[in-house]
Amino acid sequence: MSENSVAVELQGIWKRFPGVIANSDINLKVASGTVHAIVGENGAGKSTLMKILYGMQKADEGIISINGKALVFNSPSDAIAAGIGMVHQHFMLADNFTVLENIILGSEPKSGGKLDFAKARKLISDIAAENGLAVNSDVLVSELGVGDRQRIEILKVLYRGAHILILDEPTAVLVPHEVEELFNTLRDLKKQGFTVIFISHKLDEVLSIADEITVIRQGTTVGSVNPHTENVSARVLAEMMVGSELPTPQSVGNTIQDQVVLTVENLGVIAAGGKAIVDGVSFKIRAGEILGIAGVEGNGQAEILNALMGIESATGKVMFQDEDISKKSTRYRRDLGIGFIPEDRQRQALLLGAPLWENRMLGHQTKAPNAKGFWLNPRGAKADTKRIVAEYDVRTPSIDVNASALSGGNQQKLIVGREMSGDPKLLIAAHPTRGVDVGAQAAIWDHIRNARQAGLAVLLISADLDELIGLSDSIKVLLRGKFVADADPATVTPQELGTAMTGAGRAA
């Protein structure tokens, strides 16, 4: 195959779902023997496009050509036959099957009527050896970690003789050294003439691996760049993805009022083993003030949040305005006007199997618009969910789909929208924009800033130090359950803050 031949060409692809257009007029050319990245925000239509290319969904319009031949895919089998293989974002593996069973499923070697295990084992070890993908084919997948599972997914694809590989957000679940291993594998594959389509929204990674990058925005292709010949930065790509200049989390002006909203005195949380996880923490937040807590994860942040919400028992005193709420229930605290964006959204903030409008009620089920006296008010909740979906740009076909159907970023937008509803006086927020793409991130920052302007007090915990520094009026550094330093967001740099978080030095 020559270097310049086109492995995949998509022309004028359209895909409509009830209520949304997932893809509109997508045009894409992938040269064979290259790594071609497709980047775009959550919900921009990348995954839908790949499902179309893999035959899992049918395009409403458009032409798919593989190696110059126009083809129609009615099922993944057709795509597999055309030499296309897909590594899904959520692994498609049966946990109770062995590695071997997972790999051969659907195209099993047979002798007579029987499965030929010996031949399968040989085939797999040959492919694994050729591509440096070491696996033990007889262990159960349930015993394997994420990196191994991904290798199995790649083997599955190679086993089927694919020469075009689609990887849907392959690095989302990997730790850094696993990402490096994956990239080495991909470079090897490229050398052997495989074509790789790489979907991601992590721009640094894309720039390090891709030979060509295509940007998708709101369901359509907006441009391609070649990182080898053109000088592109992650920032330029991000602006192409968002379609406007990239926002920064800067809070401007001083909106701090006199009234103290939250007073915490000598808060302590004891772990099951008797060790103090939170050890005598005190602080005050005034109306219109954003207090940031910086710290490496696991230094007591989660416990402080849970103690403030009354989820975890704690010692010390928590005052909301003039009222001592140390012994009050979570329900009572929420009714006072405390919004809560927890660290683990799927575990603490959502019912994945329930529709969006029911999730809208969650935690606010006693108040309008979700309730009328004793009775719930589904109509009010639905109407308000529509408002949140519109205001916070939650990409969803309808408010009746289950929360599990939304991407992580969109789930987060829904949660932020919910917690900002009903004019809270205090917002306790952990990583409010984690997993959210750049465009939506800016929108969430705007909402928080506007509420601050109107007098909202915010306790902010974030691993994103730019966000923490940009939004906060003041920052405290948490280390092993204690505040060890204060930092002034106007002068501190992320590097200084990072040093303070590890206890190595003192911030400005």
């Binding site: 893999y54 899992m56 969904q57 099922s75 993944p76 089998s77 597999i80 897909m86 899904h88 959520h90 498609m92 593996l93 049966a94 946990d95 109770n96 099957f97 069973e101 997972n102 051969i104 499923l105 659907g106 195209s107 099993e108 047979k110 009527g113 029987k114 499965l115 599955k156 159907a405």
Partner: protein
Amino acid sequence: MTYLKSHRFIGSAFTAITMLSITRTITSNGDLTSTVTIAQALVFASPIALAGLAGIWAERAGVINIGLEGMMILGTFGAGWAGWQWGAWAGVLAGIIFGAIGGLLLAVAAVTFGVDQIIAGTAINLLALGTTKFLAILLFTNAPGGGQAQSPPIKGKIPVFTLDSIVEPLTALHEKGIFFVSDLAGLVAGLFYNMSLLTIITLLLFIMTSYLLWKTAFGLRLRSAGENPWAADSLGVKVVQYKYAAVVFSGMLAGLGGAYLSIASTIYRNGNTAGRGYIGLATMIFGDWRPGGTAAGAIMFGYIDTLRLIDTGNQNVKGLILLGAIILFTIGAWMLRSSRRNTAIGFLLLGAVMIGAYFSATSFPPEVAQVAPYITTLLVLATASQNLRPPAADGVPYRKGEDH
């Protein structure tokens, strides 16, 4: 890997016979391992085993089949209705077909329409019960030898084999009462005494299932529908077709189990299944969704049932209590070694209570034996549940193209 490993099989058979033998020696109750007991236990075990096997087929493809009881009822009725008119083999065939109809109904509800599988199965149970009662009144009331709740006798017989040349010397050996040897003789003789062709077919179906589901591409695909149908779909496996095939075949097996019951009692009678479909489900769980373990579970149920029913001197149930205590002690001792102390102590205590009961009471009501298999299943579930591997997507509705 999935086949019974032969050394393990021989090991557990050896242990089981030893424990039976100890019990038989202490109680001096020859019935426990006699030729007749074993032969009858197989007759009682077979319908349960077929129900369990039916459960394996459906659940391996990811469809929970609570409707087994109903499909068995349909089988008993089909066998009675056709058997009375056209003979026993026609009865078997009709039982299978009626069961298949039940299976098809479940497949349509659960696979095509995604109805909650427990509810769909329960509906089939109720429907089968009502329909067969109604049809019995309609078809059997005025038939010669029939009644409102039972069919006329089934014509003809399914062949039954007895190999005298094996049975007679072994039975004689059994009566000598030698430790282990006599018990083994009784057990082996039981396999050649009044062995029904249907029992042999049941055994062959178990072997066929082990082979088909674990050694062929067909089986791998069918099981993938129960483990991760979305993954299977992404590899071009036609998940819905496999689910349909599995559930309909499940219905056929359950129907055959029902037919076995009617033929064994020579008529169809309302309520003849007496919950054996549910017991079949229990044996399937007991057997970790595998044929070998399921067969063992069914034999346990059949054996206990037999001892309860042929209990002439009121001593069999007492023997069972002792056997249970010995089993508990053995497992408890084994667990102590593998450092699962709390569970082990629980087992030993329970064993001690049973020993106490054995020596303090002269006889036990037969109901004690009736609940024994269920208690055993509960014990298995309580202690082995971490090691059980039900299909990962068992009971989860699947819709093509939908994310999970």
